[in-house]
Symmetry: C2
Subunit: 457 residues, 2 copies
């Protein structure tokens, strides 16, 4: 179906090897921690400069006091318009003591590049930009029109993305969208991800006393820490089932087509176990049942816990306060505001109505159907590039808050294709985040092939 | 019964007003945080120098690599020998951001002196030493022999006190012991405390993964934080009852004499509520039932909790590890090693056998009976000084690990008498620890009267 001259592209890329890595290290050297508001303006400037230098007409998109999103456009030869999405912000690097090299000093060890954000998702910015530069150098123009939006608030739940998408809807029109990064599996199969879970992120604060007390008064003073622990224990069974009444009301069974896609996935259980050093999946699951649980189970996760004395040695204190951070990952049709209301009602019913709830993020799940023609076209291109059948994930485990807004404001089909260079051991959101350098070169090749193929009839 | 010339003592003290405060500020300016091993050697030197300057023959007692305990002796006129006990170490000052003035810069505000350790228990070192200096200045000798042991590891559970007491038993012989600090109530009644609870301090560490994970994998990866929360929730009912099987086996009912002592205590419930800013005691208790619970209920307290991301904003992480620090306050006949074994067995039974338990402190409760002649003599002296009936606490809420060792190695009757200057609002172990300066002067007077009275027939 396509007449892309990959030979010529390969030759060019070989002659310019190392360009993507150089670009990536430059991106990683600039901290851009949205949760702590560190380096965001500097990073937006760096990204805009890189796009301009590569031939994009650019502008910064700001709405409701958001961090600036960088928007760039290059008009191409064919009528096809592709919207690319990435984010330039990263997760906080803590706990720092677990990093083997400083998180913002990109470091190569054993063929891997280590830095905060290298996998999530600065590598994809680097590989897409390197591919675009290569095509422009080779052909003097792009095969398709590319519109590229790179936001700075993804890791804090894309809190202003909807306002940006509403204000700049005209810039985001396209034939289809490619979000941030899927990858090639170790088996060489291209991964396609057709949706992402929703998110509700809350902080629970329990107050017991105005000030910490000597724990000798523990027989008679209220304990914030015990209150929080006992309230948390009512939220979830030891096997992971969420016990908030009504939590599963909107959850639908997966379709046969979705189950078939999961069944066709390769087994990555051992890779998971190696990456995270554990022995058994939840409930001893494996195979298709494990994949169904991962794909379609909504969760209540404890992301943080803090109370009292946490240093070395002992301190016999009855802490005044206790705090938990929870993230709920939601599946299609679960409404985060409804889940929040049910959480509040449940805590009241259980006698914990005085625990304060602060909600940070609300996001609905979103999914493009397997049958969508844009999905099928990307699938065909990816399979032609790889010479292997794609692995399709109907609903990814993470959350891409932009999906809900793109659906509502622009209405595009979209998915993740393997333009990133992350892998199963990338430790996104964790210390020692890394990519394999070999994956970086292949991702550049794939992006070249993808953009070129979309320009063919 | 006594012919102590309080008039003469008062006059002397008035002429030397401020001496105790000056001494106390000097003691508080020197950090001495045993849990963090900060300033311990310097503090031991300071205490020994102060004792030497006041006429004590001194030595440092070290056993098993302990922090040096300072021992001093002055032989007195009568045959009565009194053993005094204090500690020069303090609790860690964290959380620092809640202090209104730096914890090791003693600061006077509104007639109160603020500093870490000022109430627990550097004030008592200052008031005892000031009283001894006054009696020596007035009479050229002490009315009784005073042996004084000031250790440096009380706030970490007096981990080497038993080794010190065993090695130096000959130095600790006496007719009775006065431990660290009871006080006068706001009603002017002298408080006597005849015992202290035991302690078992443990840290629980739950491991789920080798490294933190993205919480998008929460449906299938084991969660250390949930495991810890759910394990903790099996330890204690929401109303405070400890659910470890056999935990209460050794607990005895209080005697009628003990209940009578509790019934004769003044009501301090409102002071408690003001000091700690809360509305209701546990289970809505008040009056005698509240006092019985405080005096005789063993507890399981959460002193610290830590897992995952605890900074500002959000981080969607599935934490690799989770930690809790627990202190169990025990009553007479509960054996901390037995309780530890029962805790371990309970966690195994509940399916949490893989949670690691590190035990820091073991200490049995100890109590001198109300009927003991030394108790009755101190009670008579304190009531004569105050002109009011004493308030007797048969078993204090805190823990004095030395009591078990003194009982075992020396066999002395002992109690706490009001020589300290703390009060209900002192916030021991908490930020903004403080004493009222007016209480300091009275404590010096009382210590003079006490030592002088014990020298009378």
């Amino acid at each position: 179906m396509m007449s892309v001259d990959m030979q010529r592209i390969q030759t060019y890329l070989s002659e310019h090897a190392g360009e993507a890595q150089e670009l990536l290290e430059r991106l990683c050297r600039q901290p851009s921690i949205s949760a702590q508001n560190i380096g965001i303006a500097e990073m937006a400037n760096l990204v805009e400069t890189l796009l301009q230098e590569s031939g994009f007409s650019t502008q910064k998109l700001v709405a409701q006091g958001s961090a600036p999103a960088v928007f760039g456009e290059i008009r191409g030869r064919s009528s096809f318009t592709l919207l690319l999405y990435n984010h330039y912000d990263v997760q906080p690097p803590e706990p720092l003591e677990l990093w083997e090299s400083p998180p913002f000093e990109p470091t190569v060890r054993d063929g891997k590049l280590y830095a905060r954000g290298v996998a999530d998702n600065k590598a994809e910015i680097a590989t897409r930009l390197t591919a675009i530069r290569a095509l422009l150098a080779l052909y003097g123009e792009l095969p398709i029109t590319i519109r590229w939006l790179i936001e700075g608030e993804e890791e804090i739940g894309s809190v202003n993305f909807d306002a940006i998408a509403e204000k700049y809807t005209h810039l985001l029109q396209a034939d289809g969208a490619l979000w941030e990064g899927a990858n090639f599996g170790d088996n060489g199969r291209p991964e396609l991800m057709l949706g992402a879970k929703g998110l509700l992120y809350v902080q629970l604060d329990a107050d017991g006393l105005g000030v910490d007390a000597h724990s000798g008064s523990a027989p008679i003073l209220p304990s914030a820490a015990w209150k929080l622990v006992q309230a948390l224990a009512t939220l979830r069974s030891p096997s992971g089932k969420v016990l908030i009444p009504g939590f599963y009301d909107a959850v639908k069974e997966p379709t046969e087509q979705q189950i078939a896609a999961l069944a066709a996935q390769d087994d990555t259980e051992e890779q998971y176990k190696q990456a995270y050093h554990f022995e058994e999946f939840v409930d001893g699951l494996s195979g298709l049942e494990l994949r169904k649980r991962q794909a379609f189970a909504p969760t209540c996760n404890i992301a943080g816990l803090l109370s009292g004395y946490t240093g070395e040695g002992t301190k016999t204190v009855l802490p005044a306060r206790a705090m938990a951070k929870l993230d709920f990952r939601l599946v299609p049709d679960q409404d985060p505001e409804d889940i929040l209301a049910k959480l509040k009602a449940h805590l009241v019913t259980q006698g914990y109505g005085d625990i304060r709830i602060t909600a940070f993020d609300y996001c609905r799940a979103d999914m493009t159907p397997i049958e969508d023609p844009f999905v099928q076209r990307i699938q065909a291109i990816a399979e032609a590039f790889a010479g292997k059948p794609a692995e399709i994930t109907p609903l990814g485990g993470g959350t891409l808050p932009l999906l809900e807004s793109l659906r509502k404001r622009v209405g595009l089909p979209g998915l993740s294709a393997p333009g990133n260079a992350a892998y199963w051991g990338s430790a996104a959101h964790s210390p020692n985040e890394n990519i394999r350098l070999a994956d970086l070169e292949r991702a550049v090749q794939f992006n070249c092939y993808l953009f070129a193929s979309l320009g063919e009839a």
